[in-house]
C-alpha cells in the first residue's frame, strides 16, 4: 500500500437497514493526511454509512477496503487496529476519569488483562495532547462539558493509533466556538499524523472552511465527492440541499434561509 493512496475505499458499496436500501453504488476514497466531511440532510443515511464503514453494520452489497484489505475479512481486533470510531452522544460513564477513558483506546494493543505498558501510556499522553484534552486528564468524565467530552472521546480514538478515524456528528450539541475547535482539532490530526479522518456533520460552513474534501449524500443520485472548493463552485452543494428552503451561494458557500 503506497503512503499516498487512499487509506480506505469502498467498491460498489450499498448501505441500508435490513431491506431498506439507503444509498447504493458508493465508490468513495478517504486519502491519507486529509480531513473529509460527510454532508447531507437528516435521514439520508450518513450515520448508516459511517456505521457500515466502522464495521457496526453489514453492507447490503459491495466491499470496503482499509489499507487494501477487505474490512469484513478482518477479525474484530485487526479492524480495531485500523479503524477508530467516535459515535454520537455522551457515554453514560459512572465514575471514570478522563485518562482512564482515553487509555481504553489502547485495548486493541494491550494484553488480555488490559495492562498498559510505557508505550501505551506514551500513546495516551500524545492523544491527550493532540486533541487538546491534556488539561482534563485527571477530571471525572461526568464533570466535563459536552465539548470537553467530545475532545476526550477523540483522544480515546487517537490513542487507538489507527490509520483511519471515523466520527459521527462530533459537533452536534456544541456551541459555535466548540464546534470550530473540534473541527480544527480533527484537521490538525489529519494533517499532522497523516491519518484519513472522516466525519459527518450538519455544519456546512465549518465543513467547507476547514475540511479538505467533502462527500455529499443526495437523495436518489448517490454520492458526490471532491474538494470543498469544487463542492461550492460546481453548484453540487446547492443541488444537494435544493428544495430544503436553504439557498447556498456557489461563490462563498455561505447559506441563507429562505422564508
Amino acid at each position: 500500500m503506497s503512503a499516498f493512496g487512499p487509506l480506505m475505499q469502498t467498491e460498489e458499496l450499498s448501505v441500508g437497514h435490513g431491506r431498506t436500501l439507503l444509498v447504493s453504488n458508493i465508490n468513495m476514497e478517504l486519502p491519507a493526511g486529509s480531513l473529509t466531511a460527510l454532508l447531507g440532510i437528516n435521514g439520508i443515511g450518513k450515520s448508516t454509512l459511517l456505521r457500515t464503514l466502522a464495521g457496526l453494520h453489514l453492507p447490503l452489497k459491495g466491499r470496503m477496503l482499509v489499507e487494501g484489505e477487505n474490512v469484513h475479512e478482518l477479525s474484530a481486533m485487526e479492524r480495531a487496529r485500523r479503524i477508530a470510531v467516535v459515535l454520537t452522544g455522551r457515554p453514560r460513564t459512572g465514575m471514570l476519569d478522563v485518562e482512564t477513558l482515553v487509555a481504553l483506546g489502547r485495548q486493541p494493543w494491550t494484553d488480555r488483562w488490559g495492562r498498559t505498558t510505557a508505550a501505551d501510556r506514551e500513546a495516551v499522553e500524545q492523544a491527550l495532547e493532540r486533541s487538546g484534552a491534556m488539561h482534563l486528564r485527571d477530571r471525572q468524565v461526568a464533570t466535563c462539558s459536552d465539548g470537553e467530552v467530545q475532545k476526550v472521546l477523540i483522544a480515546r480514538a487517537l490513542a487507538q493509533a489507527t490509520p483511519v478515524l471515523l466520527l459521527d456528528e462530533p459537533t452536534a450539541f456544541l456551541d459555535l466556538p466548540n464546534r470550530a475547535d473540534i473541527v480544527r482539532v480533527l484537521r490538525s490530526i489529519a494533517h499532522g499524523s497523516n491519518k484519513a479522518v472522516f466525519f459527518s456533520t450538519h455544519d456546512l460552513q465549518l465543513a467547507l472552511d476547514l475540511s479538505d474534501r467533502v462527500v455529499l449524500m443526495r437523495s436518489g443520485e448517490g454520492l458526490w465527492q471532491g474538494t470543498s472548493a469544487e463542492a461550492m463552485h460546481s453548484g453540487e452543494l446547492g443541488r444537494a440541499f435544493s428544495g430544503s428552503g436553504v439557498s447556498i451561494d456557489p461563490l462563498t458557500g455561505t447559506h441563507r434561509f429562505l422564508p
Binding site: G55, L87, T93, D97, L101, L104, W113
Partner: protein, 336 residues
C-alpha cells in the same frame, strides 16, 4: 490506576479484621489471640471447637456470599449500564427462590432421585436465576430503557414470590418451616462438610468474572464503542450473564434471598476508588462484598447491640441508604 491499588490492600485488611472479629464474637466472647491460636495451631486450644466447628463455617459462608453477590451486582450494572441493576432488583434471587421452593416444598417429587439435596437445590437455584437473567436480557434488547427494565425485574420478582406462595400453601408443615427459615436469609447453618457446595461454585464464578475486566471496561462507554475497539460484546454479555447467574444462584441456594448486598457494594467500591475501572473495581468489589457481609453477619449475631437480628433486615438497613445516595446523585451516571 496510580496508587489506587492500596485501596485493595485496605479492603482486604478490613475483611480479615472483620473475619477475626466474627470468629471472636458470639455467645462466648473469645480473645483474638485464642482465635489466632485455634486457626493456625489447632489441636489443643480450649476454643478450637467453637472457632473451627461452630463459627468458621458461617464466616466462610458470609465471605463467599458477600463476594459472590457483589461481583454479580457489578457484572449486571456494567452489562446493562444501569446503576440500579443487581441480583435482587432484577429478579435473579426471585428466580432462584422459586427454584429452591420447587425442591424444598415439592419434596415428594424428588424423594426417589438418588442425588443429594444440596445438588438439587443448587441446580434449581441456578436454573431459576439464569432463566430470569435470560428473560431480562431479552427484554433489555426490546425496551432498551433502564427504568422499564427495573420495573420488569421487580414484576418477575413478584411473580416468583407469588408462585412460591402457591407452593407454600400446598406443602407439608415440616418442609414449609425449613423453607421459611431459608427465606429469611442466613449465613449460619452450613456445616464444615457442606461448605464446598457454596465455596467451589462461587470461587469459579469470581475467577471467571476477573477474566472479563478488560472487555467490561470497554463496555463502560457503550456497546458500539466497545465493538469498534475489538470487543465481542455479545459474547462478553452472554458470559457475564452465566457468571452472574452462577454466583447469585449459588449464594441464594444456601443463604436465602439476600437483599441489597449485590446492588450496594459496587457503589461503595466506586465511591472509595473514584473509578469504574474494572481492573480495580472488580477485585475491590469482591473484597468489599466479603468484608461487608462479615459486618452484616456480626450485626446479625448481636455484636455491639446484643440483639439477634434477621439478616435481610440488616442488609436492607445498610443497603437502602447507599441506593438512595446513588439515586439522588444521578448526575454521576450521565444520561444517555
Amino acid at each position: 490506576m496510580r496508587g489506587k491499588g492500596w485501596w485493595l490492600v485496605g479492603f482486604a485488611a478490613f475483611g480479615v479484621l472483620m473475619a477475626l472479629l466474627g470468629l471472636a464474637t458470639g455467645s462466648v466472647n473469645i480473645p483474638l489471640r485464642d482465635v489466632w491460636h485455634s486457626l493456625f495451631q489447632a489441636g489443643s486450644g480450649t476454643y478450637d471447637v467453637i472457632v473451627l466447628q461452630v463459627r468458621l463455617p458461617g464466616i466462610i459462608t458470609a465471605i463467599a456470599a458477600g463476594a459472590g453477590l457483589a461481583a454479580a451486582g457489578l457484572l449486571m450494572q456494567t452489562i446493562f449500564l444501569n446503576p440500579l441493576a443487581g441480583p435482587g432488583v432484577l429478579g435473579l434471587t426471585g428466580g432462584a427462590s422459586l427454584g429452591v421452593a420447587l425442591v424444598m416444598l415439592a419434596q415428594p417429587l424428588w424423594a426417589t432421585t438418588p442425588l443429594p439435596q444440596d445438588l438439587l437445590i443448587t441446580v434449581a437455584a441456578l436454573a431459576g436465576a439464569i432463566a430470569v437473567l435470560l428473560l431480562i436480557t431479552f427484554a433489555d434488547r426490546r425496551v432498551g430503557d433502564g427504568i422499564t427494565l427495573l420495573i420488569l425485574g421487580l414484576m418477575v420478582g413478584y411473580l416468583c414470590t407469588a408462585l412460591v406462595s402457591v407452593l407454600q400453601a400446598s406443602s407439608e408443615a415440616r418442609a414449609l418451616k425449613s423453607f421459611v427459615l431459608w427465606g429469611m436469609g442466613s449465613f449460619a447453618g452450613m456445616e464444615l462438610s457442606r461448605l464446598p457446595w457454596i465455596v467451589v461454585p462461587v470461587a469459579i464464578g469470581l475467577v471467571l468474572a476477573l477474566t472479563l475486566v478488560k472487555p467490561l471496561n470497554a463496555m463502560l462507554i457503550g456497546d458500539d464503542h466497545a465493538r469498534t475497539m475489538g470487543v465481542d460484546v455479545d459474547r462478553v454479555r452472554r458470559r457475564s450473564i452465566w457468571i452472574a447467574g452462577l454466583l447469585a444462584g449459588t449464594v441464594t441456594a444456601f443463604c436465602g434471598p439476600i437483599a441489597f448486598l449485590g446492588l450496594a457494594v459496587p457503589h461503595v467500591g466506586r465511591a472509595f476508588l473514584r473509578s469504574a475501572d474494572h481492573r480495580l473495581l472488580m477485585p475491590a468489589t469482591i473484597l468489599l462484598g466479603a468484608a461487608l457481609a462479615l459486618v452484616c453477619d456480626l450485626i446479625v449475631r448481636g455484636a455491639w447491640t446484643g440483639v439477634m437480628l434477621p439478616l435481610n433486615a440488616v442488609t436492607s438497613l445498610l443497603g437502602v441508604p447507599v441506593v438512595l445516595w446513588v439515586l439522588l446523585s444521578g448526575k454521576r451516571w450521565a444520561k444517555r
